[in-house]
Symmetry: C2
Subunit: 343 residues, 2 copies
């Protein structure tokens, strides 16, 4: 897992070598009125899809949604998607119901795209178009580098769809350097901090805007590798009920990035702190979270949209370090295998 966390800057740079493929897919999607982009995925790839909603919304101004697989694959709902883009995301390209969704969508005339780390996978086969992640083999069960590669692929696709591909590519190159710097800055700090959380059983992870994807991904890493009941919430949703559950043994991790959603995160963290929660703050605006017991600052990204590629790193490093502090093997969590073949 650590080796793959460290490979992330290289994975982002490698994706940029395949920019032509991304440009071609974007050209297929650009028409008027704008398309409605449907994304389907599970687990880490679904967290990347959460990011995709913002990438398409902020760059070309398109509506994008994480579609319900159960609604169409299992209930067979008759929703007309002819000519509309459908993106299936799966690191392995094997996830059965994602493959079935994309297959069904293609038979109904959707423009189907696979974002996958295996160009020979079933998902790549059933989709009309493929955006290969080219992140290299990922062996740790908890995905890391394919997550940031998926974000990079979505940002680049949305950027080209908006006629701003070159700008986003430049931003991603700078972001790769920031990811590298963040890993170097935080690796030792996180290893020293993790033992304080060895008894951690539950946690909320809050973010807002583009960082909702980061909150979801950090919570998932903690569930997978540390057996923690970590739930991701939008900062505002924390105040609409779940804050009732917090106490000093139920910490809250706030992802604080300098953007228009920061006031909501600061406010929500303040409420959690008043309710007795121990706070961890990460991100480029970690210093803005008052009363944080621990801070994991990251450098500011070139834009709000690219911040999540950097912001996820403290969570990845912390999850690995905490797994070790708890005596678990971060590379091979219990009850999981790398490729999930469930219904």
């Amino acid at each position: 897992m650590l080796a793959e966390i460290r490979e992330q800057p290289a994975a982002i740079r490698r994706l940029l070598e395949h920019e032509d493929a991304v440009r071609e897919v974007a050209a297929r999607l650009t028409w008027s009125p704008p398309p409605v982009v449907r994304m389907v995925a599970h687990g880490t790839s679904d967290n990347a899809a959460t990011y995709g909603v913002y990438a398409f919304g902020l760059l070309p101004g398109w509506t994008a949604l994480r579609d319900s697989i159960s609604l169409t694959v299992y209930y067979d709902a008759e929703i007309d998607i002819a000519g509309q883009p459908v993106i299936g995301l799966s690191q392995s390209g094997v996830t059965p119901d994602v493959v079935r969704y994309v297959e069904r969508a293609r038979s109904r005339g959707a423009v189907t795209i696979a974002i996958t780390n295996d160009e020979t996978s079933p998902l790549a086969e059933v989709a009309e178009l493929v955006l290969p992640l080219e992140a290299g083999p990922e062996r740790a069960v908890a995905a890391t580098k394919t997550y940031v590669s998926s974000l990079a692929a979505l940002a680049l696709l949305a950027g080209h769809a908006a006629g701003r591909g070159a700008e986003i590519a430049d931003g991603l190159r700078a972001t790769a350097d920031l990811v590298q710097q963040t890993i170097e800055d935080l690796e030792a700090i996180v290893a020293r901090m993790a033992p304080s959380f060895a008894i951690l059983g539950r946690m909320f992870v809050i973010g807002r805007g583009t960082e909702l994807a980061t909150a979801r991904e950090i919570a998932l890493k903690l569930q997978e590798t540390c057996r923690v009941a970590a739930e991701a919430l939008s900062a505002t949703d924390l105040s609409h009920g779940p804050v009732a559950a917090v106490d000093p043994l139920f910490p809250v991790w706030a992802i604080a990035t300098e953007d228009a959603n920061l006031p909501a995160v600061v406010d929500s963290a303040r409420r959690a702190h008043e309710a007795g929660a121990t706070l961890i703050a990460s991100g480029s605006a970690a210093a803005r979270i008052e009363g944080a017991a621990f801070r994991l600052p990251t450098p500011p990204a070139p834009s709000t949209l690219l911040a999540p590629l950097v912001s996820v790193v403290p969570g990845q490093l912390f999850a690995r370090a905490l797994a070790i502090a708890k005596g678990y093997d971060p590379d091979s969590p219990q009850h999981l295998s790398k490729v999930t073949r469930v219904l």
Copy 2:
């Protein structure tokens, strides 16, 4: 809270008295090509919006999504929504960012609809059209009757949009009786079962399809009233990572309804049980969850779409009973007020 749980059948019947208002709103939305319905809400109302995705998908075959408030209200994304329906859901009608979202959407030409229990609220004022829940005052902080009323309003609206309003209204009348029967059947059983969970600190609640909304709502009730780290997951997502966290002190509640998504729920519950989780099974197919330590069966609903109005009842009753078993006041959870006025 208990009084309001018991009022739910009456709340559903009262909503049906206002069917004309629902029919008029539906008439405003029916055109070709079909609209894309955007819903915005927090907390319990957002769980109702989760249900709305299925109601609009299954009945008129429309795309419906829970929109990101942060994307447009805070990032000011330029997504064209002129002429498209926007539904803001809020029991109190006060939720600040929902009001702001609807206000902005209306100024950009969207057809705005408020679903609220207060016709004089800010949300009702900023929206062009209002669907009043008429559920009567809700005083317990944890919402119950306004949740089932919101589901009924969405089902009825989607039904009229599909030209099947009368059928759905009949189904809702039958469902009100089933909700009443479920409350009568389970109230005492749940009270006897709750003390076994007095030390409960964390739980996953799984459902799929229309019952994903139920899973989210039951998890939220447990967070609000019992201070439990209860996270809702689609049955399939449990297997994509979070199952790594379960053990006998980390139970899994499976909502099992007789429909096309049941096999995925059965399979996911089996995996959780094999991983050592104590299982609670509820719903019309509770008997199908192998190895469940506790079962809270409900009568079958008239259709897959109406099942969630019945399926949520065991969770509401259990949350209240568990709060009492833990020594908490279910009517007034800590750190919460009835009307949440956060950013």
